[in-house]
């Protein structure tokens, strides 16, 4: 949660928001109000860029527009034509009361003469009335068939529109995801170090999901809603400008009411969001630190802070649900007021013959249909805001500076001998804090170089530079005399096998995780690597053996076993150069001894860089580098360095005496706070 990554539940809830929101099209804004709108930094340019993404889909999108116009237009004229059927029926009902033979004008005059002025007005206003004739079913049937046809076509068009739109949006999002993933591969490692992983993850997952959702919903609903509002107003004006004016008064009223309620509910929703977050972290902490809470006897404190947050959430949740819950009834009320006024005024006008009953009926239908999309548009604004804000965060990733491209016409190094040379190398993660300065180092082919020193000394950095994970500030590093920047990264890294401090396994079987080291490796090769690195031993104790599926974080095997797996992976890749960064720190020492044997076989004839805490594991290295503050302070073999009685000897003594030793480890706290340093 702290990473802002949504749980499957939350996402499922979002996925399900779809059809509900569809329903909302007719029932007011119940959805979309739940997410507090995040404000975007530059709404207009970002929105434009977001629309620009839809550029390749412009043909289907034009079709969508045309279909929407046609479908809404047809739906809009439906009630008007249907009104004619009502008029026919009404005419038949009224007309049947009069004798046959007279025509309408005569009848009106006769009625007026009899002093029935009101009835005369009514009759005068009925276009289809023929005195003495009942309902003309032929005419009614024709009208109804026509309307049925119109509705059928409108529905079909609307379906086609939805069909095309969903395709266009999903293809666009597919492209966006692909571009972002592509981009990740071209970003320098600094970019990943420079921000919490959760933050980046949230951008490439949640934010893209949100963009997709907003695009899909706003494009389909905003378009139809706007068109519907326009069409309804047009039809109302056409039928009766007076009634239309009355109905239109409700636009500002309902807008104002929705805005007022929306603003209040927004406040509650933000509060609810906040309280949920706070409650979640209380829950998360007390469950994750369950045993500590118990053993330190802090249950009462935890319980009371939970109660406080739970009460907060109750108040906020209640407020949010209530305030957002009354939007619908309120809109319904405004709609009803409208209905009443139209029914009365319309009734009076029919009675006075200045309007037909069918038109009043059509009008009532229009006025009922246009308040809904209106509130829909209002709630879309929030969704749009949050979608654009998310898009902006995704664009930031897409716009990040990429790593320097590989050299053009790069040298190709095939099976290098493995001579590595650092020439006056300087490097820092942050120019204000120089780390490695003017470092020179020569490693001959086949040598094993061990690097020791306190945390933050720059051990991991040194080997990362060999991998070209970072670009140097000055100097150069060569492999077999070739500047590594003259090689492609692919070429360079293919020649180097690396086992990292932080073990990383992906969700998949143990076999797949080992095979990751070498594309297209055979079963035999995988098994051989597993046997050589003692993976085979523990795999046999797992229920599914090599087919055991590791969960995302590799939680079902121990830290030591994870390290063995990553060693097997490097073993399989059979590189010219080997880098082992604290490769066995989590393996127990007896297993480590076994792995060491396998490793020395692996190191044989290969240039190797080994970083280790346990000095016992590197005694037989050809060269031991003692690093401190980015500098190599001592260099030599185990025996030489012990004889020198300097920093190495001190470290060694500390490790093996077991007694208190007054060694200044030179450990600086600040560097530990930044990632990726050894």
């Amino acid at each position: 949660m702290s990473e802002g990554v949504k749980t499957a539940e939350e996402k499922a809830a979002e996925a399900r928001r779809g059809p509900g929101a569809r329903a909302g099209q007719r029932h007011g804004p119940m959805m979309g109000a739940g997410v507090p709108a995040e404000k975007s930094q530059n709404f207009v340019p970002s929105a434009k860029r977001l629309l620009g993404l839809l550029q390749p889909e412009r043909t289907p999108l034009y079709a969508v527009l045309a279909l929407a116009v046609a479908s809404v237009g047809l739906s809009a004229i439906g009630p008007k034509i249907l009104g004619r059927a009502t008029d026919h029926i009404f005419a038949g009902v009224v007309g049947a009361r009069f004798p046959v033979g007279t025509d309408k004008a005569q009848l009106v005059e006769a009625l007026r003469a009899r002093g029935e002025g009101k009835l005369a007005d009514l009759v005068g206003g009925m276009p289809y009335l023929v005195p003495g004739q009942g309902i003309d079913f032929g005419a009614v049937g024709d009208v109804l068939l026509l309307v049925l046809g119109i509705y059928l076509v409108a529905s079909l068009l609307s379906w086609a529109q939805g069909w095309l739109l969903t395709g266009a949006v999903n293809r666009t999002i597919f492209g966006l995801r692909r571009d972002v993933e592509d981009k990740l591969n071209r970003l320098p490692l600094q970019y990943f170090d420079g921000q919490p992983r959760g933050e980046l993850l949230s951008r490439v997952t949640n934010d893209i999901d949100n963009v997709a959702q907003s695009l899909q919903q706003t494009l389909s609903q905003l378009l139809t809603s706007l068109l519907t509002v326009v069409a309804m107003i047009a039809m109302m004006l056409y039928i009766s400008p007076l009634l239309a004016l009355i109905a239109l008064v409700t636009i500002p009223v309902s807008m104002a009411v929705t805005a007022a309620i929306g603003k209040r509910s927004q406040k509650h929703f933000v509060q609810q969001w906040k309280s949920t977050g706070e409650l979640n972290s209380v829950v998360e902490e007390s469950f994750t630190g369950h045993e500590l809470v118990k053993v330190f006897g802090r249950q009462d404190e935890v319980r009371s802070s939970f109660r406080a947050k739970n009460d907060d959430l109750y108040a906020a949740g209640f407020g949010a649900q209530f305030v957002s819950g009354i939007i619908m009834p309120t809109m319904m009320f405004i709609g009803n007021l409208n209905y009443v006024v139209i029914a009365v005024v319309g009734g009076l006008r029919v009675a006075s013959g200045s309007m037909t009953l069918g038109d009043v009926q059509a009008f009532i239908q229009y006025s009922r249909q246009f308040t809904q999309p209106l509130t829909q548009v209002a709630s879309m604004a929030n969704l749009l805001q949050s979608g654009v804000a998310s898009a902006e965060r995704v664009f930031e990733v897409l716009d990040a500076t990429e790593q320097r491209p590989d050299a053009v016409g790069a040298t190709v190094l095939d099976e290098p001998r493995g001579r590595v040379e650092f020439e006056d190398v300087s490097f820092s993660y942050d120019p204000a804090n120089p780390l490695i300065e003017h470092l020179d180092l020569v490693v001959e082919p086949g040598q094993t170089v061990a690097i020791v020193g306190p945390t933050g000394a720059g051990k991991t950095t040194l080997v990362n530079l060999v991998m070209r994970f970072y670009e140097l500030d000055a100097g150069r590093i060569t492999l077999d005399g070739v500047d590594i920047t003259a090689l492609t990264r692919h070429n360079l890294r293919s020649e180097i096998g690396m086992v990292l401090q932080d073990t990383w396994l992906f969700g998949g079987t143990i076999r797949d995780n080992i095979a990751y080291g070498k594309p297209g490796s055979s079963e035999e090769e995988v098994l051989a690597a597993a046997k050589a690195t003692y993976v085979d031993r523990f795999v046999h104790s797992l229920p599914d053996g090599y087919d055991t599926v590791l969960d995302a974080e590799g939680g079902n095997i121990s830290a030591g076993e994870k390290q063995l797996l990553t060693i097997a992976r490097a073993f399989l890749s059979d590189p010219a150069l080997l880098i082992l960064d604290e490769a066995t720190s989590s393996v127990d020492t007896r297993t480590e001894l076994l792995v060491q044997q396998a490793m020395s076989a692996l190191r044989h004839d290969r240039t190797s860089f080994v970083i280790a805490h346990r000095l016992s594991t590197i005694r037989d290295a050809d060269v031991i580098l003692v690093m401190r503050d980015g500098q190599i302070v001592e260099q030599g073999s185990h025996a030489e360095l012990l004889a020198r009685d300097g920093a190495y000897a001190e470290l060694y003594a500390a490790q093996f005496s077991g007694a208190a030793v007054d060694v200044d480890s030179g450990e600086a706290p600040a560097p530990e706070l930044t990632p990726a340093r050894g």
């Binding site: 395709g167 993850l201 009834p329 009365v344």
Partner: protein
């Protein structure tokens, strides 16, 4: 499950719910009454040219509208209150339940799922209760009321209801039924896409080190393609819903006019009644549609309710004694007598017949390979788990016979994964003792070799610690966890491999600083490094859950081959001698 939970937890709000149903009834009747009044405006006002009647009835309609909104808003208020109240009570109940769990239940469920059961699942149930109060209660009322009103207007047209209502419900339900499995697939594909991205971001170094960018790209493309395919399928199904609903609504209107006109012609119905009937039909269809959409939430909420019930129905395996004995105040050492422990469902016990004593004022070390059962052994002392055989005693009292608080008050635990809580350095240290002074905190930090880096932090003791303590390094976290235990000044210290993230010189200094303050305490240290425990008073060697050796370092070098192996794996023969 859903029914049971909703019934049980809605009980305190029974009064509110009863009023709510009453209000929904009023609101629904009111909104059904409006078309009827409109019908009368047409038949008795318009057709007769009676303007006075039109105005009077209009006034009535206004009054009915007011009654309708008053009832609905009040009902919404009550619904929100009951739902939020139910959510609060349910959350509190689940939270309290988990609070009573032992480590065994927590690890059986796993902390993440317990968290989402307490929060997300409860929210699901709460949501469905609110929606239910708002719509699912009114839908059947609307249905029944609408049918009654429609029948009142004209029995002869009512067969239209019998056609269009099931038609709508059926077609919407059919589309939704096809959509639900798609949603599941879609959720899986979203998870897949996100998992691949997560792995790429967290494993970026490995991906680059092994030059597997192309492989990752292909993996992602596969996930992305599947996701897009499912999203398309869902989107296309969704695109059908609205047109279908629209068509059924509109066709029903047309049908009412056609069949109604015949009844009007034969004098069985008035034209205003026909209009009213049309309105009822619309209202009924609308409520049916709402109910159908809302019912989509039920399966999800049912799953959530099941997950909640599972927590509520689980009892802690660690049961506090009814009549606790008191552990003697001074000199409480630990003794394990023939202890056996197996995780539930496991064939092989983790510990078998383990006996050992940890006396006050002495340091007892436990060493062995990973998986030898060292951490499990430690967790038996504070009753995070209960033994499956034998006894664990503190001060001669079986831990199962003492009050849990009494046991915990004696123990300072430094777990293998040093977890820190959100707050400051000081608030974390005061976890051990809420009343500790700043001086006491600094003293603990000094001993734990954490003084330097805490002093170097800009805000010192008040420096913020984020959840889990991820803003300090692993080594720093370990030292803060040690300081936290020191602040508590317990009689028993349990260090579970607590020095592993420290470099060796820090480790050495920490141990020598610890000695004076733990002079009267029983100290139990689990370790992998021989150097950490070489000067312990008593060393116990565990291998595969069995004690294979016990004694001092020098004794063990003679008597215990496993120990010798461990030592040799860590240092050269001459250094060990």
């Amino acid at each position: 499950m859903l029914v049971r939970i909703v019934r049980d937890y809605l009980r305190p709000y029974q009064g509110l719910v009863t009023v709510l149903v009453g209000l929904q009834l009023v609101g629904t009747i009111a909104s059904l009454y409006l078309p009827s009044l409109n019908g009368r405006i047409i038949d008795e006002g318009v057709a007769q040219g009676d303007t006075g009647f039109i105005l009077r009835t209009g006034g009535w309609m206004l009054a009915v509208s007011l009654a309708q909104i008053a009832a609905t808003v009040w009902a919404t208020y009550l619904g929100a209150r009951s739902a939020a109240g139910l959510g609060r009570d349910l959350r509190a109940q689940v939270f309290a339940r988990v609070g009573d769990f032992s480590a065994q239940e927590v690890s059986r469920f796993g902390a993440p799922t317990l968290i989402s059961r307490t929060t997300n699942d409860v929210t699901q149930v709460q949501q469905v209760v609110f929606m239910g109060a708002a719509m699912m209660v009114s839908a059947p009322i609307m249905m029944v009321g609408g049918v009654i009103m429609a029948l009142r207007e004209d029995v002869g047209l009512s067969w239209l209801l019998a056609v269009s209502v099931p038609l709508l419900a059926l077609s919407v339900a059919l589309v939704i039924r096809r959509m639900i499995p798609q949603f599941r697939t879609m959720q899986e594909s979203v998870d897949w896409v996100n998992r691949v991205l997560r792995e790429q971001i967290t494993g970026i170094r490995v991906v680059r080190a092994f030059v597997r960018e192309d492989h990752e790209r292909a993996r992602f493309a596969e996930a992305n393609t599947q996701y897009t395919g499912t999203a398309l399928a869902v989107g296309r199904l969704m695109a059908m819903v609205f047109p279908i609903v629209m068509l059924i609504f509109n066709a029903s209107t047309v049908a009412v006019l056609w069949f109604g006109s015949h009844r009007v012609a034969s004098g069985q119905m008035q034209i205003g009644e026909m209009t009213a009937f049309m309105s009822y039909l619309m209202q009924i269809l609308m409520s049916v549609m709402m109910a159908t959409f809302m019912s989509m939430m039920i399966p999800r909420a049912t799953v959530s309710a099941g997950r909640i019930a599972e927590v509520l129905d689980t009892d802690s395996t660690v049961v506090p004694p009814a009549d606790p004995l008191t552990i003697p105040r001074v000199g409480a050492g630990i003794e394990l007598r023939d202890v056996t422990f197996a995780y539930p469902g496991a064939d092989v016990p983790v510990l078998q017949g383990v006996s050992l004593r940890a006396e006050p004022g002495r340091t007892t070390a436990i060493i062995g390979s990973t998986g030898a059962g060292k951490s499990t052994l430690l967790s038996l002392v504070p009753r995070l788990y209960d033994v499956t055989g034998g006894q664990v005693l503190i001060g001669g009292v079986d831990v199962r016979d003492a009050a849990l608080e009494d046991v915990w008050a004696r123990i300072g635990l430094v777990p293998q994964k040093p977890y820190l809580f959100t707050g400051t350095v000081a608030s974390n240290l005061r976890y051990g003792d809420a009343d500790a002074t700043d001086d006491e905190l600094w003293e603990a930090l000094r001993i734990a070799q954490a003084e330097d880096f805490v002093r170097a932090m800009p805000q010192g003791l008040d420096s913020p610690i984020v959840q889990g303590g991820t803003n300090v390094s692993g080594g720093q976290r370990q030292r803060l966890a040690i300081a936290r235990a020191l602040v508590a000044k317990p009689e028993i210290f349990l260090f579970d491999d607590s020095f592993s993230a420290l470099d060796l010189s820090t480790d050495a200094r920490l141990r020598s600083a610890l000695k004076p303050v733990t002079r009267h305490a029983a100290v139990v240290v689990v370790a992998q490094r021989v150097s950490t425990i070489v000067d312990a008073d008593h060393i116990v060697v565990l291998d595969d859950g069995l004690v294979v050796g016990a004694g001092t370092h020098d004794d063990l070098l003679v008597t215990c081959p496993t120990y010798v192996e461990i030592v040799e794996s860590q240092q050269s023969a001459e250094a060990a001698a």
